[in-house]
């Protein structure tokens, strides 16, 4: 083999670079996403209940939001939802955020972990930090 040493050295350098993500994460597992439910409004609730069970909302909240958006914007069905004696507005900004006022600890926690970038907040206001 001509230039065997250089080729093998090159391969070793290449493998070291290509495998960097694997060994750099060895040992310490990535921090688990832990969305926080600790907001003043939620703390004051006697029954901590969302429009659907928590497990369902974890998986399907984007479908709930999509359905609400279509009903409100396109079909004009703006009536509130009654769950367990509480009224919920079909609105990200005025419904979800009324309880989950901690966008950074709630929404962004999982979205950052999963690497998704929804563009809700390009238009909708979260009310956090006097942002507009």
């Amino acid at each position: 083999m001509y230039n065997g040493g250089k080729i093998i050295l090159g391969l070793i350098i290449f493998l070291a670079l290509a495998a960097f993500p694997f060994y750099s994460n060895l040992g310490g597992s990535a921090k688990k996403a832990m969305p926080s439910l600790d907001t003043p409004v939620i703390q004051q609730l006697a029954v901590k209940e969302c429009v659907k069970p928590g497990e369902y909302m974890k998986r399907e909240h984007m479908k709930v939001l999509d359905q609400w958006r279509d009903e409100v914007v396109r079909e004009g069905k703006r009536e509130k939802i009654l769950v367990g004696g509480r009224e919920f507005e079909k609105s990200l900004q005025n419904g979800c955020m009324a309880c989950h006022s901690n966008k950074e600890q709630f929404c962004a926690e999982c979205h950052g972990y999963a690497g998704v970038k929804p563009y809700c907040w390009d238009c909708h206001l979260s009310g956090e930090g006097g942002q507009i």
């Binding site: 009536e79 563009y119 238009c123």
Partner: protein, 266 residues
């Protein structure tokens, strides 16, 4: 039954003509439209009468402020002095620009110099809806021409289609031009790259409130259901002479103007 090609083509041609006659492509002529035949008689058909006898420039400024602060409409004029970037929900213009089909050099000067409030006309036959390639704009059951910013791709066909200039494109990030003292945390903003316009305030109607401009108008605007012959807006239309903008286009606006007459004499 057997059919040769010649006969088939003849029949297809006749059927095609029949389809064409029955479709929406033939607009009503102004005379036909004003015959009263086309009045809606059931359901909901929201509309507005603007009584120019009651509205001063101070009223208009207050109404525009009410609308724009309720809907987080940025103020890009006059600070930037850039007409292209202006976002228009409720704005004003002269008589000649409002009613270009009724220009008359002998009109009273006071009328010519008056500011008319302009907004989306929520037309019966909205050209913006016909040209929208994504159905981001559509006609809702209650007569409102809805603009759904979730679905808007910013192609601006609707701006070309609207004969009233009621639509504005966000060429810049609108959030940079909002007055923090006047923001409404319960209403979204828009993002760069979408078109927006007056909505007739469905988020207020559902709470039993009137649109923001109507509420601030001190009776200068009358809002209601055009399909209900007993509504206030129909009573006003029945008893006053009103104008609509650019009637020859056949768009059938649901915004009506009472111009008045003797008010300008002297």
């Amino acid at each position: 039954m057997s059919m040769d090609r010649r006969k088939f083509l003849k029949m297809a041609g006749i059927a095609g003509i029949g389809l064409g006659l029955g479709s929406d492509f033939i607009l009503m002529s102004p005379a036909e439209a004003s015959s009263g035949k086309g009045l809606p008689s059931s359901g909901e058909r929201l509309g507005m009468v603007i009584d120019m006898r009651k509205l001063t420039n101070a009223d208009l400024a207050r109404m525009i402020d009410a609308c724009h602060s309720a809907h987080n409409v940025p103020t890009l004029i006059p600070e930037k002095n850039d007409v292209k970037n202006e976002i228009k929900w409720l704005w004003t213009d002269t008589y000649d620009h409002t009613f270009p089909e009724q220009i008359n050099d002998y009109h009273p000067r006071a009328l010519k110099e008056k500011s008319f409030p302009l907004l989306c006309n929520h037309c019966d036959h909205p050209p913006c809806v016909r040209v929208c390639p994504t159905k981001a704009t559509f006609k809702a059951k209650n007569g409102i021409v809805v603009q759904d910013p979730h679905r808007c791709i910013g192609c601006r066909f609707c701006m070309a289609g609207c004969p009233y200039g009621s639509r504005s494109f966000n060429y810049v990030d609108p959030r940079l031009y909002l007055d923090p003292a006047k923001k409404n945390p319960a209403f979204p903003t828009r993002t760069m790259g979408v078109v927006e316009k007056c909505t007739f305030c469905p988020e207020r109607l559902v709470k039993g409130q009137l649109p923001a401009c109507v509420e601030a108008s001190n009776g200068g605007m009358i809002f209601g259901n055009l399909a209900d012959s007993h509504s206030e807006v129909r009573r006003v239309l029945n008893t006053h002479f009103t104008l609509r903008r650019k009637p020859a286009l056949g768009t059938m606006p649901s915004v009506f103007y009472i111009i008045g007459g003797e008010d300008y004499a002297g």
